[in-house]
């Protein structure tokens, strides 16, 4: 009990540290630059508490449940050495964690709002909801595929820089044929996937795998997965934009 309280406090401090610089910069600008602080700020204070409390509980829960189970599984599968199950696991891990990624949920609904406002999709809640969900599923699929490629790379010991650079070229190539309005959203979705939920689990998979194979470096191989996970969403969302 005492140990969990300490852990919870530590997570709370982490969440506050996340929010604090924003609060400070905003206050400095309100007081020194605008000189008269906007009245809306007070009503946002309650929401700020929710942000801190929510993030704290979320990360505390992840550490309690998702991370130990996920890491244990990653290690067990890496030891087991079945390529098939490893690949299935990697795909589902990428897909499942991305669907639960808070930053992606937020960006997808905002993108749907903007698309509806510009008349690209219908403005009903249903149309917006299905557009946002479509975007999230596309990104989740992309991260799943990225982890599969990443695991194959670790197993086959393929060169990471060459694959990444080839990926960049492909992204630029597809950008030229993608519709204008999807491009920025696509590039943004590459950045949102690699945050709270995905990174620790993916790193555990990479490190578990690399340390159970001979002659691999856990540091570089664990990273390689994340690099793919921020590259494929761009590609997949661009393609999603071409199809939809």
């Amino acid at each position: 009990m005492k140990a969990s309280l300490i852990a919870l406090t530590r997570d709370a401090i982490g969440s506050i540290r996340d929010l604090l610089p924003i609060v400070i910069v905003v206050i400095v600008f309100q007081v020194l630059v605008f000189r008269e602080p906007a009245s809306e700020l007070w009503s946002m204070a309650a929401g700020a508490l929710l942000v801190v409390a929510g993030l704290t509980f979320f990360i505390f829960g992840l550490r309690l449940a998702l991370f130990p189970v996920g890491e244990g599984l990653a290690h067990a599968l890496a030891r087991k050495g079945s390529v098939f199950w490893l690949v299935v696991f990697a795909f589902l891990l990428g897909f499942g964690t991305t669907i639960a990624e808070p930053a992606l949920i937020a960006i997808a609904s905002e993108a749907a709002e903007v698309a509806a406002g510009a008349g690209v999709i219908g403005s009903s809640d249903e149309a917006k909801g299905s557009y946002a969900l479509g975007l999230r599923l596309t990104v989740a699929l992309a991260v799943g595929v990225a982890l599969v490629i990443g695991v194959m790379r670790i197993l086959g010991n393929w060169s990471l820089p060459i694959m990444i650079i080839a990926g960049y070229f492909l992204v630029i190539l597809v950008t030229t044929i993608a519709p204008q309005e999807i491009i920025a959203i696509a590039y943004d979705s590459g950045g949102v996937t690699t945050s709270t939920v995905t990174v620790p689990l993916v790193a555990a998979l990479g490190i578990g795998l690399a340390s159970s194979l001979k002659g691999r470096n856990p540091m570089t191989d664990g990273f390689g997965l994340i690099a793919f996970a921020s590259l494929t969403p761009i590609l997949f969302v661009l393609v999603y934009g071409i199809i939809v």
Binding site: L66, A184, S230
Partner: protein, 272 residues
């Protein structure tokens, strides 16, 4: 009251978001690895925290981070404010007149990255793994500069309306060239740093900032110009961290080849 209803709804939605991963982990644990969970109590409590936390966070985000980003964009592009700071009417404004926007973007990007707990953890690990060659503070500052400059440059792009992929293509080219010449040790770290430094709190805020800017600046559309700040925030730290690696090598080389003909202060200047 409204907040409570919204929170409850959000917690229910979050349950559905988290459910797939719970089922999949359970199935794998039970049928593929063939082990039963011994500490299922702890795990159920953990998932309860995950669901409630995610639900509350998303409400807070809707109530605070999004409105805050938009509010700042609105205030920074307010005609009266711009008239005061630039001395021109809105129709006569050029991109330089939005300097407070760039400064705000720089400050937000730099400070959030510097304080990011995940980045601190990664920096400490990198310091240990590299045997002290990579400094904890130096790495954090390098990433923070990258994020700050990235967000700031992203705002410049929104205000001028230059297509995003020009910047991205150019930045990729720089990254590729740097990857070839930078010390191998720093490369994985650099690629990783951008994603690590943009936290779950920062992403919604700068997204709202970008959308707010694109709505307020004449001639820009939210759809075409509003997004892209997150991409910049993730891309530019790669460049700054690779540059830091190159600098460290250069510094080591200078101090190794230098004899006592020059004083140490000068060396420092050259290295930076």
């Amino acid at each position: 009251m409204e907040l409570i209803i919204a929170s409850t709804q959000s917690v229910v939605d979050s349950t559905l978001d988290v459910l797939p991963i719970v089922i999949f982990l359970f199935v794998f644990q039970r049928f593929v690895v063939g082990e039963t969970l011994t500490n299922w109590k702890q795990i159920s409590v953990g998932f309860l925290f995950v669901v409630v936390g995610l639900g509350l966070f998303l409400v807070g985000l809707e109530e605070t981070l999004f409105p805050l980003g938009r509010l700042m964009a609105q205030q920074l592009t307010d005609p009266a404010f711009l008239y005061e700071s630039a001395g021109k009417a809105v129709s006569a404004l050029v991109w330089q007149d939005y300097y407070w926007v760039y400064l705000f973007a720089l400050a937000i990007g730099f400070s959030t990255a510097l304080a990011e707990p995940a980045l601190i953890a990664v920096s400490m690990k990198a310091n240990t793994v590299s045997g002290g060659a990579i400094g904890v503070w130096e790495l954090r500052v390098a990433v923070a500069i990258g994020v700050g400059v990235g967000v700031s440059l992203g705002c410049f792009r929104i205000i001028t309306g230059i297509p995003l992929h020009y910047f991205i293509a150019a930045a990729y080219l720089v990254v590729i060239l740097q990857t070839i010449v930078a010390p191998k040790l720093i490369v994985p770290l650099a690629y990783d740093s951008g994603g690590v430094a943009t936290s779950t709190v920062t992403v919604p805020l700068i997204t709202a900032l970008g959308l707010g800017l694109s709505e307020a600046v004449p001639g820009r559309s939210a759809l075409l110009d509003g997004f892209g700040l997150v991409a910049f925030a993730c891309l530019f730290p790669i460049i700054s961290v690779l540059a830091y690696g190159q600098l460290a090598v250069l510094r080591a080389r200078v101090s190794a080849s230098e004899t006592d003909s020059r004083n140490p202060d000068e060396e420092e200047d050259n290295a930076f």
